[in-house]
Point group: C2
Chain length 392, copies 2
């Protein structure tokens, strides 16, 4: 049997999915836009400003779809993002990682060059004192938010911590501006019922508003009261007292968010296109050319009721193969199997066939790639290629 | 208290470690060279050609240190690596991932443009038939190796599988050259005693030599008999009948290889430099600006007797803080703690201090970065900056 060879060669500039070099990152524009509309509408209804976190997308082409009327407020996770988005006209940013003396100085320099206002985050007196050092050495001073800890997730001060007032006073004494407070309900990722998510959102709100009120009672205006995580952003019933909402992964969604209960599988906007490179019927295995280098090592669903391995498998047009997952991944190999316990059979996949693999964690999968190949629904055409940035 | 602000700004082109933007990837040249010498010496003693796997380093500057006399034989995991190394004069390659019709065609085109001989891998009749299709459509034909399965790890045929002879015959009928057989003892990563590793190495050798002998008895010359994994490469006592040895992670080593028993902690050549961005003494936490984006999501030591979290922590000069690990990682945050059960205390680390974090898995950590900042021992100078490639 002769296998037909197509005339064309696989390329990174292909006009159609079938001609892409694999593995390749796909982004479904229709799902992206739907996810964007959903949270924009919630933010309007709740009366808060949406300050999307661009750490998931890292692409101005994606973020432009959030702001059809021109650059709006964003959250960044690296100063490389700050510099890149400042270069594209974004002026209002929060760098939502605790400052060091070196990062604060660099942020101020990026701001001075670009005209962007990059607000910084801190939760210790030592950090506030470092700001005084920058001011005295360079004459520069900007504005900061105090990080709050609402659920023991990571950094931040508890809303009732006496150091909250002390840090605020040291910020002011340093000649910097205290812009407000910021919390992130990171523990909400571990929940999976609407009731628990609503409680987590209300807890995040109360903690943050309470801290803002304490600061105001000490004479700090605290104009920004910022909260956000993708699960709590979608389950908050009231955001009274909150001024802005942050979320990032909601643009793409992923299997972890599906496990939490925030989205349907059909909302997942990114996937990795892969090619079958072997079959082992005696083991119930299909091998593909997407391993952890293309999918990421993220195993976020391992602790959820439904473990999706290294990703859920779809056909080349994006239709889910029920219960087919990437059970194992090495650097450039993925092994597809039927999920343990399922009675379904492996689909008939042969060497050269293509599949799409949905991510456990969209931020991690996207970070393994240079570019989004933009598609729409089940259509085979690649509409555009959107670059993304990386690094620090 | 005023914190002194240094005049200089952190930069990616720093002359000294202290001036680098963090997180940043460091590579200790002295450890690299020692690791390279160790396996080169073993390969000489065992009488085999060393064909290093460049998937870990992805840098011609690193690989040049393996071949002081000019380009030698290499193994690649992507055709992007093949193209890059071909552009630097490397001519003798094995692409050690099973071929698809599209990848085989692309490999032949890269070979035609560059003059490189890119040998391909297969284990099915369907793949051999695809080669016939390429030959009849383009006139091009190259050489292939048959992948063997010596330990149920991933792809490949068992040495006694009747399809071994069938695939070989179809390769020849396709007008391609059968260059030999190839095995990878991937299950050796799960071992941790010298005896078990020696057995795994001997099993890998016997399986591969046996398959080569079967092919020869059917008239196939089988000049290449290729084996390799970093653990078995370091524990093989005899490689009789084997012609070449492949390994990649040994250049850098990592905590997983340390857990397997292949290397000492002092052999680990790469690390991520990070800056302290917060402290939570009440929880025993120090927060740094290296999360999974800089460290990777790899948790390879989680299944070993000593779980290293997301990495083992050293001071800024690379001296290990015993029992201090990155216990949790989010995208741009790492939380350092003392290992559970340890009686040690957290070192005195304050905002702005720097640490180095050793990798669970060197291939995965390095893949998160654009460049190696080359250092030597505990000296603070950056000797060179070596770029690395990514993508497919």
């Amino acid at each position: 049997m002769d296998t037909p060879v197509e005339d064309r060669t696989a390329t990174q500039d292909a006009a159609r999915i079938g001609d892409l070099i694999t593995p390749a990152l796909l982004l479904d524009r229709e799902r992206l836009d739907r996810n964007i509309r959903r949270l924009a509408s919630r933010a309007r209804d709740l009366g808060v400003t949406l300050r999307p976190h661009v750490k998931t997308a890292k692409s101005v082409d994606v973020v432009r779809r959030l702001f059809p009327d021109g650059p709006g407020p964003i959250t960044v996770s690296t100063l490389a993002e700050a510099e890149y988005f400042a270069g594209h006209g974004y002026r209002d940013m929060i760098y939502a990682v605790g400052l060091s003396p070196a990062s604060a100085l660099r942020a101020m320099q990026i701001g001075r060059r670009s005209g962007a206002d990059i607000r910084l985050l801190l939760d210790t007196v030592e950090q506030a004192d470092a700001l005084a050092g920058i001011r005295s050495a360079t004459g520069m001073a900007g504005s900061v938010l105090i990080e709050l800890d609402c659920d023991d997730h990571r950094g931040g001060l508890k809303p009732d911590d006496p150091r909250l007032i002390e840090v605020a006073e040291r910020v002011v004494a340093s000649g910097w501006t205290l812009a407000g407070v910021l919390a992130h309900a990171g523990e909400s990722y571990a929940l999976n019922t609407p009731e628990a998510l609503e409680r987590a959102a209300e807890n995040e709100r109360q903690a943050t508003v309470h801290a803002a009120e304490r600061l105001r009672s000490h004479g700090h205006a605290c104009p920004i009261v910022s909260i956000g995580s993708t699960p709590t952003a979608h389950f908050a019933r009231s955001l009274e007292g909150v001024t802005e909402l942050r979320a990032g992964v909601y643009m793409f969604f992923d299997l972890v968010q599906h496990g939490v209960g925030v989205c349907a599988i059909d909302d997942l906007a990114i996937s990795v296109l892969a090619t079958v490179i072997g079959t082992k019927p005696e083991k119930g295995w299909v091998l593909v050319d997407a391993g952890w280098m293309a999918l990421s090592r993220d195993r976020g669903t391992a602790s959820q009721p439904v473990d999706q391995g290294y990703g859920l498998v779809c056909d080349a047009a994006g239709r889910v193969f029920e219960d087919v997952i990437v059970a194992q991944a090495s650097q450039e190999h993925g092994i597809l199997t039927v999920r343990p316990g399922s009675q379904r059979k492996l689909p008939d996949l042969n060497v050269g066939d293509r599949v799409r693999i949905l991510p456990n964690h969209a931020c991690a999968m996207a970070a393994q790639h240079e570019v989004y190949n933009v598609v729409a629904g089940t259509r085979p055409d690649i509409e555009a290629r959107w670059p993304r940035i990386r690094g620090w």
